[in-house]
Symmetry: C2
Amino acid sequence: MRLSRSLIPTLKETPAEAQIVSHRLMLRAGLIRQQSAGIYAWLPAGQRVLRNIANIVREEQDRAGAQEILMPTIQAADLWRESGRYDAYGPEMLRIRDRHDREMLYGPTNEEMLTAIMRDSVQSYRDLPQMLYHIQWKFRDEVRPRFGVLRGREFLMKDGYSFDLDYAGAVASYRRMLLAYMRTFRRLGVRAIPMRADTGPIGGDLSHEFHILAPNGESGVFYDNAFETIGLGDDTLSYDNQADLNAFFEQMTSLYAATDEKHDTEAWNNVPAQSRREGRGIEVGQIFYFGTKYSEAMGFSVVGPDGSKIHPEMGSYGIGVSRLTGAIIEASHDDAGIIWPASIAPFRTAILNLRQGDAITDTLCESLHEKLGDAALYDDRPARAGEKFADADLMGHPWQLIVGPRGAANNQVEVKNRRSGERTELSADDALTKVLG
Amino acid sequence: MRLSRSLIPTLKETPAEAQIVSHRLMLRAGLIRQQSAGIYAWLPAGQRVLRNIANIVREEQDRAGAQEILMPTIQAADLWRESGRYDAYGPEMLRIRDRHDREMLYGPTNEEMLTAIMRDSVQSYRDLPQMLYHIQWKFRDEVRPRFGVLRGREFLMKDGYSFDLDYAGAVASYRRMLLAYMRTFRRLGVRAIPMRADTGPIGGDLSHEFHILAPNGESGVFYDNAFETIGLGDDTLSYDNQADLNAFFEQMTSLYAATDEKHDTEAWNNVPAQSRREGRGIEVGQIFYFGTKYSEAMGFSVVGPDGSKIHPEMGSYGIGVSRLTGAIIEASHDDAGIIWPASIAPFRTAILNLRQGDAITDTLCESLHEKLGDAALYDDRPARAGEKFADADLMGHPWQLIVGPRGAANNQVEVKNRRSGERTELSADDALTKVLG
């Protein structure tokens, strides 16, 4: 993509309304623009990040055996009356009346709707277990939206739901999702720690929040430093092997990790002092077992092998897709700007033409651009070199190919790695090999 | 995917609420379920069709040089007051008040929002032309939603917008999009005809609707039968060659094609009698040049080369993504069910196990399933052969691999082509080659 023909409006100044670094950088790098309080438009570079994150989430859900569906954003109030949540939800629910004065709402989550869909479609124990998810916009009317996409009102979320015949099945689904989540975050290029979370009246240990460590995190977190080094769901584990899933679950849950809300001083004191780490975390996902709460309230049952009526055991599994964009920046940036993990960067490589208009430099840049295609952003603006350096660092491309007239005359370019800062002078071909690596 | 573990609830009975064939078939094939009047959930098979269509639309937009963005569903009323459309729009606009009593709306279209984004981001003639699009859910509060996804309230649409410095540039953008649209529909496996449409006060010939021919179409259409045979945007044309774009535009617009609303009896009489065709069409896209209407009303200008203020010339370009699902079924089905074009089918191939539980048959089916992977739906239900045949025809997979115990013993399967009905007995390997073709 040519920067001169792209809607990537970088800003030199720090926008006054942004209080935290990810919000500032998302505005400055031209990823988003606010449209109303807590409601954002995703410009081309931002849209690419969002799509890359969503695709990784999708691939890992599919791999774990979940089926993708797509439920609408607008729901009927009556559906939520069935579960009792319409009145319970409070002012965060955006309530709407349509032209016929019917009560509707913009869905903040989908337990009710999917339970109703399953109730209409699934009758026999033979049809279970099933796990379904969707990636859809949701709305929570935060009283004071802030921190950019970290606490917006309209947000993109993956929410998934499991339906099992019994508790043992629900536990198996839960463990499967724990592995899927760790794999997802690993591919996103961040380390997320599963922290024991509140289970409410259901009790048990089947509720975890996933936190990315970042100085601006909303929660205080306490964790065993083993989480900084252990493998987090590598590919040797199989979803088809329950022993693998159990061992992984055991490993993840036996180490101490809790937010300040659930912090247990006694258990903490049993962690060796040199292993204790305290910090701050941003919640980017949650998994939760809630039993038959919705299947009972909404009358969803299947016929069991012996003809008896079974209310399926359910769990729900959320990942904040738009929120992750901000959270990953909080965890991965420096003074100059964003440092994107390669897997989600809007552009893997930027080509910086330091002498736009010089025939030899232009020719080499065009040739690099053609070979790298859509994965590269070509800074072909008639701008000073300093501006191009600053914007590339700000935008956070994993690689920069810096092309000046002297190098171009010898078919040489400078390759800069954004994360390490390392710069290497290479032939054009070797440079391509390096950034495509 | 295993049908026994999938949420694909096919129905034997015709649902009473569905008046037209595409709506009936989408419900019966388990693609969608209505959640409220005109609001649908897309179940796994339906979600796959929607995603396949959206991906083709996206790829052809990208290829034409448009940039993808993603604007939110909820917009501020004040934005629409700038253009004067907030009061003009009428009750189809879903108006919302948030918890702070601010007036909001669920966007039915995005001219205002994108003009405002461009106004904030683009200052110089050097930044133009640009073309942007997004694929997002929209809402129009139809007084009487009907015909399933053909006239729903919440719908998925690609809307794109072009910004040019002058009329000639806007014409070039328009012609570029005309080619992109014809290529899109060709890849979707349907023939769509561009019909001259109303330009309102702007006049000229820069407004076209794209109609798929189908007996249940909402509009009467009159067209030259050359449209049934000519190439519709093949790959020999280049977006970089204005002569190509002009010649293609000339070819598309010189042939007669109009809906009843714009039908011109005099021009029609000039079409040779043997070339005249009348029928019905479903509108699935529209492209429209509207000049400086929004850039002037909303005060969006750029500085020209001579320092003068230029209001960019705009056009908008829509494709009804969810609507296409229904429209394509209207154009491509038979008494037994849907006939999916291969490019958008939820599953390219179904594997029908006619003797579930028979070791040899099961083994061959499992092996075919493993080789075809995610592109195949394996009907592994403990059901009668007749039910599997009927469901596969209903769901409309382009290919069926029919596996019975006698054939399996000889490593033979029957391959059925859904569209032609042709059945061939082949070795398992040859069958795979055929369906992967």
